[in-house]
């Protein structure tokens, strides 16, 4: 029972981070029909930038804010400079470009920060709360992780649902040509979408780094796989689907880790991906699966 409780808690926490990362992928997919494979290395880069500040004596919070701002800038620049020329072209072009970017940014991190693992000190204690004699897999730091992810989700929902810019972004995502005819500056909205996605990705990077207590140029590689599976599980088009998909995947992988074997986790994620694609290729929450017939 205690094991089950802790595996569930652990699943929810890693699931929340997968959810944030999946949300970043969904934001970009919705607006540009591109899966951004560079999301992981972009987030690794911003986490390294934060780490150098923290190692240089700044507080974690300065590092976090700088990481998010760096994400905003990198996301916007990547969209304008690298993605814009392949937008609207054959889909494979964009896939290859983001894969290339993934490798290029990872190489850049190695050049700038070295290839070694570096310790990352979490902002809060990682010692679990106690319930009697039983130590829960829930610590002040994991509460912070959960809270941060929740805040981002509420923030994005509010942005899309209640603001003019959010409406313009949704219109641009769902009906580019119509939006342009209605005077919406679609190009700007796409740039903003990439920038926001990169901010969310950067946050996921900072949270993961604190959970695992280290960073390396490749430390986000597994997260791109898990984030992608979570996004597909939820239906790539649906922000809510991304969140639910992330949580489901986090739980499933946590149980696999606890009850089966640690080494099966990666394979389990891919099995889930294959099963979802076979059984419900539109994902659990896709509302627009018939649009692209």
């Amino acid at each position: 029972m205690q094991q089950f409780v802790n595996l569930t808690l652990g699943g929810v926490i890693t699931g929340a981070v997968y959810a944030a990362f999946a949300l970043a992928l969904v934001l970009i997919w919705r607006s540009t029909r591109i899966v951004n494979f560079a999301q992981g290395s972009m987030a690794a880069l911003t986490t390294f930038i934060a780490l150098s500040l923290i190692e240089g004596g700044q507080s974690y919070w300065v590092g976090l804010v700088v990481a998010l701002l760096a994400g905003l800038v990198i996301g916007a620049v990547v969209e304008r400079v690298v993605i814009r020329p392949v937008e609207g072209g054959p889909e494979l072009n964009a896939v290859i470009v983001t894969l290339g970017l993934f490798i290029a940014i990872q190489a850049l991190i190695s050049v700038l920060f070295g290839v070694n693992q570096r310790a990352f000190v979490p902002p809060f204690s990682t010692i679990g709360f106690k319930a009697g004699d039983f130590t829960l897999a829930l610590s002040p730091n994991t509460l912070f992780t959960l809270g941060a992810v929740l805040l981002v989700m509420v923030g994005l929902t509010a942005l899309f649902r209640f603001t003019r810019v959010g409406l313009a972004m949704r219109a641009s995502a769902f009906g580019q040509e119509v939006a342009r005819l209605l005077g919406v500056r679609v190009g700007r909205m796409l740039t903003l979408g990439w920038a926001l996605a990169a901010v969310v990705g950067s946050l996921a990077g900072m949270l993961i780094a604190a959970e695992v207590s280290f960073v390396a140029p490749t430390f986000m590689d597994s997260l791109i796989v898990f984030g992608f599976v979570a996004a597909v599980l939820g239906g790539l088009d649906s922000p809510i689907g991304a969140v639910v998909g992330g949580l489901l995947l986090g739980l499933a992988l946590s149980y696999v880790r606890g009850y089966l074997d640690e080494t099966l986790v990666g394979m389990a994620a891919l099995v889930i991906l294959v099963v979802v694609l076979l059984v419900r290729p539109g994902g659990l929450f896709s509302t627009t699966q018939t649009r692209r017939a």
């Binding site: 409406l167 949704r170 769902f174 009906g175 119509v178 939006a179 209605l182 005077g183 919406v184 649009r291």
Partner: protein, 243 residues
């Protein structure tokens, strides 16, 4: 108003416009005008270049030759997004609702570029189209074809256009709904000074509401004349309009 006496001021004038899709010439030296307070109907068979004409006027397709002049301003190279600020709204073919947004959100997108817009303007659109008022909170993909057409026309009106471009508004709609929509257009033109450039395959309905007809065939203007005279010209009707 109505009827077609001599010349009025041109809201839009298209001069020698040509456009191509690769080696295929879709528009060939097209010249026409949309006059202030009139409905101008561009007619022709499938593939005559009607949709391309509207898309080129809006800037979605770039012309290979010719000019587009809107209210005296050369807008041939203007950005698509800017046209609506210059007083022109283009309702594209296939209804152009954003299916994932609600009816209300679709309308709001149409007014975004104007900044804050009072609720009274939305109410006015809903008064014109009570059918969509009932559906205001529904997602647009649940609307019928007629409701979608009402929504996109209402949305275009929220931009307060001087000139409305309509691409095949009758496509796939029941005759009764077509008559309703055309009657409303007529009313807006007569009472509010709106000008309309309408592209239609359904020549009979279009000529019954329009002031001026332009017949397009294989990308070229064949004839421009008073709508009533065109409807009465049997040879022309048989040759180009199919009724």
């Amino acid at each position: 108003m109505g009827g077609g006496t001599a010349t009025a001021d041109a809201v839009l004038s298209v001069e020698g416009l040509s456009a191509s899709y690769g080696p295929v010439k879709a528009l060939d030296d097209v010249t026409l005008r949309a006059e202030q307070g009139r409905i101008t109907a561009v007619l022709g068979a499938n593939g005559a270049g009607k949709t391309t004409l509207l898309r080129t006027i809006s800037g979605l397709v770039r012309p290979t030759a010719g000019r587009v002049v809107l209210n005296g301003e050369d807008v041939t190279r203007a950005a698509v997004e800017a046209m609506v600020t210059k007083g022109m709204s283009h309702v594209p073919e296939g209804r152009g609702v954003i299916a994932e947004l609600t009816v209300d959100e679709n309308l709001r997108v149409g007014s975004l570029f104007r900044g804050k817009v009072g609720q009274d303007e939305f109410d006015r659109v809903y008064d014109l189209f009570p059918r969509i008022k009932e559906r205001r909170a529904s997602t647009a993909h649940t609307l019928s074809g007629g409701e979608r057409q009402m929504l996109v026309i209402g949305r275009a009106l929220l931009a307060r256009p001087k000139l409305l471009l309509l691409d095949e508004p009758s496509l796939g709609l029941a005759p009764r709904i077509v008559a309703q929509i055309f009657a409303l257009l007529r009313k807006l033109v007569d009472t509010e000074g709106l000008s309309v450039l309408l592209v239609e395959q359904n020549a009979r309905s279009a000529l019954s509401v329009a002031d001026i007809g332009v017949v397009l065939n294989l990308g070229r203007v064949v004839v421009t004349d008073d709508a009533a005279r065109l409807a009465g010209d049997e040879d022309l009707r048989h040759a180009y309009l199919g009724f």
